[in-house]
């Protein structure tokens, strides 16, 4: 089938969105950008392919008359099992590399390093094999999941003879290798294993129907008719110049499609903040973005999270517990750590400081919005920071104070806005090639 892909290479995460010829979303993928944009783009796109095949599976099941609860449950199980297979493949790779590193020249002298690593991985593997409930809060990235579990186990395993830092240094070294290795995580490559697990105990006639549907989807050729890249790393994509679009245009169009009433868009990305005005067709009419200084952009929150030894996704919930917002003017990323420590020393509470930091970020965005022509109705907030509830709370408050009542749109999928816009440009480019007018 013919598809169109948009890839948004952000400084923190890389996103891919795949559309069919009608512009309907088939699949999406996201991964951390690491230092290798090329690989990140491939992984995000592969991920979008996986999701796209699940969309095709939904369509196949519907076509086969499988619309009942059983089919929905089967699909859910299949996805769950596929994720397990993928994760276990990555974990196995991590384990193999870690053990290899442990016997190497650099660390070989730590007597029972290998044994302790084996133990850590045994525990993680056993843990990951257990069924989990959905809806557990946490990062979706393998890196974050593995890091969190590995460090928890390493803390328990470490002692005076073999320090925690040594164990973590092994992890830090090999996680990069695993991230940069091409491990087969595709639907085609892994679905059979997942399917076998899912179909155990299924009634024979349903078993046959499901299997046929899944295998036909696995064999369906998916052809990417056109791909368009956007985001900070777009110049590094192996795309011709005409297949590269500015993320400002992509966010404008993506926001328009998600919320057709959009007039003003705010996108807070990893290293830039953009205030965009769009017309009724999603066409950008004006924009402003931060200058050379990236103070107060998404990356700033990343530094703060590192300083606080927290995940970036944990900042918002903690800031929401604030009862008294601390007033902070500087959002300089370089001084973020010092600012934070100073305030903690002064006895200010972590949640209050965090609430102040979120407000400071939004204040900076408000200045850019004013410069771009203000906030019109409706106002759509996109980018990764839009999923941070504390940032959203500060934004709502400041919008109300400065502009009065405005409809504020925030999609749970806001992080995909740029990639969605790029994919739509790909559909349009494909269409105009077919019908040159």
């Amino acid at each position: 089938m013919k598809t169109f892909v948009g890839i948004d290479l952000g400084s923190t995460t890389t996103k891919a969105v795949m559309l069919d010829e009608d512009g309907a979303v088939l699949g999406r993928g996201i991964t951390n950008s690491r230092s290798n944009y090329h690989l990140a783009a491939d992984i995000a796109r592969d991920e979008a392919f996986v999701e796209a095949r699940f969309t095709l599976l939904d369509r196949a099941l519907v076509a086969a008359g499988e619309t009942g609860d059983e089919a929905v449950a089967f699909r859910k199980r299949l996805l769950y099992q596929l994720r397990k297979v993928q994760q276990m493949a990555q974990l196995a790779s991590l384990r193999a590399r870690a053990l290899e590193e442990a016997v190497g020249a650099r660390l070989g002298h730590h007597g029972d390093l290998v044994a302790r690593l084996e133990h850590i991985f045994d525990v993680i593997e056993a843990d990951w094999k257990k069924p989990r409930l959905t809806g557990v809060k946490g990062s979706d990235f393998f890196r974050d999941q593995a890091a969190s579990d590995f460090s928890r186990c390493a803390e328990r395993v470490a002692d005076r003879d073999l320090k925690f830092d040594v164990l973590m240094s092994v992890f830090d070294k090999v996680i990069i290798q695993v991230e940069n290795a091409r491990i087969d995580l595709t639907f085609e490559g892994n679905i059979r294993t997942a399917l076998t697990r899912c179909l155990r105990g299924e009634a024979p006639e349903r078993h046959a129907r499901y299997e046929a549907a899944v295998l036909s989807v696995a064999d369906t050729p998916i052809d990417v008719a056109r791909a368009i890249g956007t985001g900070y790393g777009r110049q590094t994509l192996p795309f011709p110049k005409e297949s590269i679009r500015s993320e400002i245009l992509c966010h404008g169009l993506g926001a328009h499609v998600m919320f057709p009433g959009t007039a003003t868009v705010l996108d807070i990305g990893g290293q830039d903040t953009k205030a965009i005005q769009v017309d009724g067709d999603g066409i950008v009419t004006s924009f402003q973005m931060n200058d050379r200084c990236a103070a107060g952009c998404g990356r700033y929150l990343g530094y703060i999270a590192d300083e606080m030894n927290m995940g970036v996704h944990e900042l918002g919930p903690l800031a929401m517990q604030s009862t008294r917002t601390v007033k902070i003017n500087s959002t300089c990323t370089v001084f973020a750590g010092a600012e934070l420590r100073d305030r903690l020393t002064m006895g200010q509470k972590r949640e209050d400081i965090l609430a102040g930091l979120h407000r400071a970020i939004i204040l900076r965005a408000m200045a850019l919005l004013a410069r771009s022509g203000g906030i019109a109705d409706e106002f759509t907030f996109t980018g990764g920071v839009a999923n941070n509830e504390a940032a959203v709370r500060a934004l709502r408050q400041l919008v109300k104070e400065n502009y009065g009542s405005r409809t504020i749109n925030i999609s749970a999928d806001s992080i995909y806005t740029g990639a969605l816009g790029a994919a739509l440009f790909a559909v349009r480019a494909g269409a105009s090639e077919e019908h040159p007018s």
């Binding site: 994720r83 679009r245 500015s246 400002i248 245009l249 830039d272 009419t285 200058d291 050379r292």
Partner: protein, 451 residues
């Protein structure tokens, strides 16, 4: 606004000529003391070059030295030197570059030593920094200062009373200072002859700049334009050399028009003019070629710019008038771009957009210069509203390399040009209604991630 050695790879005769003129001037400056010539430091906006020529003194323009240092990648070290001396990061980087150069031996752009000033002549007070700059230089050189106050055109007009006020200062302050410096009386005939030559060169310059109304434009009126204004805004206006330069330049441009050629850039001629832009604000000098390339590589040609009016504005028909020497000098001083109020600037830029059929107005807001930067966002919104073309905004600096963030600037320029393109495409789609529209995607399902 002058010719660096690294200029365009494809050089026209005019370019070679300008290079020789500049080299000759710096060489004369290096010999000034030996030749018994007096040296006057003065600024570009509203300068009184013809008057200086009439007294046979040599002018030095500190801003030109600073921008030349910027183009030669020397400004970063000079600015650092000035900052070590206590100048804050917020001080205009032309000033800091000049002070740093002075403290590093005062070697000019060609490597020859610059002579110390015998007089500091401040003929334009619209820029407060100019005054402070000369206060610093006065402390350094302990030389006399001649200063006149030029009223801002706050109401959008330069009244006869204002003109008389400036003429009176020329008579009572500036001319006596030059007479005292040289020991000579003002030779009015000599001044008038220079003014007559200015007029001839000015007509040619205006013809060159207005050639950009054609499609394709034979010139780039910003990146190329800064070279074209070099002689006329500095030491050469009123000289035979300038008349000759502009005659040659005009002939070259006429020839490009005849052949239907686009502007010359460091990477060759632009063969496909994709975007026509008006640019407001000075260029960045530290990464001038890189900056230019961000436009030329996209087929973006600047058809008009306000910066090419920084020394003086000829748009409203002003030409130096040999019949009214001091009056004409007064009018020139008061008519430079930054002495015009915002409504006048908005009128001018809106007219450029219309007359030069531009696709957009892009503002390059430089950190150093309040004379340009103050009010730019207002200008942007107003020109957008009046002309309907999209505005864009980028930020750089004159000669501080730390303020040129290439990735960020390129990103903004590309986004801006794509925005123009998208608007254009959308307009034509609407007109033809031929391209199929894209159905909005179904609401995307949140991918469940289990572990």
């Amino acid at each position: 606004m002058s010719t660096p050695q690294e200029a365009a790879s494809a050089k026209d005769g005019s370019m070679i000529k300008q290079k020789e003129m500049i080299a000759g001037h710096y060489s004369a400056l290096s010999r000034a003391k030996a030749d018994g010539k007096k040296v006057v430091y003065t600024f570009v906006p509203g300068n009184l070059t013809e008057l200086l020529l009439a007294f046979d003194v040599l002018p030095v323009y500190p801003e030109i030295n600073a921008l030349q240092s910027g183009m030669r990648k020397k400004s970063g070290a000079y600015i650092a030197e000035a900052e070590r001396l206590g100048h804050s990061e917020d001080v205009c980087t032309y000033v800091k570059c000049d002070i740093g150069m002075l403290k590093s031996g005062n070697f000019g752009p060609t490597g020859e030593k610059l002579p110390e000033p015998d007089l500091l002549l401040l003929s334009y007070t619209g820029c407060f920094t100019f005054m402070k700059w000369f206060e610093l230089l006065k402390r350094e050189y302990n030389c006399p200062v001649a200063m006149m106050h030029v009223p801002y055109q706050g109401d959008g007009v330069f009244t006869p009373e204002m003109r008389d006020y400036v003429v009176a200062q020329l008579r009572t302050e500036v001319v006596p200072a030059l007479e005292a410096l040289t020991g000579k009386k003002l030779d009015e005939a000599k001044l008038s002859e220079a003014l007559a030559r200015s007029r001839v060169a000015e007509d040619d310059l205006v013809a060159v700049l207005e050639s950009a109304k054609r499609r394709p434009s034979p010139i780039d009126a910003y990146f190329g334009g800064v070279y074209y204004i070099g002689p006329i805004f500095t030491s050469f206006r009123g000289t035979e050399a300038a008349v000759d330069y502009y005659r040659t330049l005009r002939a070259e441009v006429d020839e490009r028009v005849r052949l239907g050629l686009g502007p010359l850039t460091p990477d060759g001629a632009i063969t496909h003019e994709k975007y026509r832009l008006v640019i407001e604000g000075p260029p960045n000098w530290t990464n001038f070629q890189e900056f230019w390339k961000m436009f030329s590589s996209e087929g973006a040609v600047v058809v008009a710019s306000s910066y090419t009016k920084v020394g003086g504005v000829y748009d409203n028909g002003f030409r130096h008038d040999p019949e009214r020497p001091l009056e004409t000098l007064a009018e020139y001083c008061a008519g430079c771009y930054t002495n015009l109020n915002l409504p006048t600037r908005i009128d001018m830029l809106s007219r450029y957009v219309r007359e030069y059929e531009a696709d957009g107005l892009l503002i390059n807001s430089v950190k150093s210069c309040n004379s340009f930067s103050a009010g730019q966002l207002l200008i942007l919104r107003e020109v957008e509203a009046r002309t309907g073309v999209p505005g864009g905004f980028i930020e750089t600096d004159l000669v501080d390399p730390r303020y040129f963030s290439a990735a960020n600037i390129k990103n903004r320029i590309e986004s801006y040009l794509q925005m123009i393109e998208q608007k254009r495409r959308n307009a034509s789609t609407r007109a033809h209604a031929a391209t199929p529209t894209v159905a909005p995607p179904r609401p995307a399902k949140k991918l469940e991630v289990l572990r």
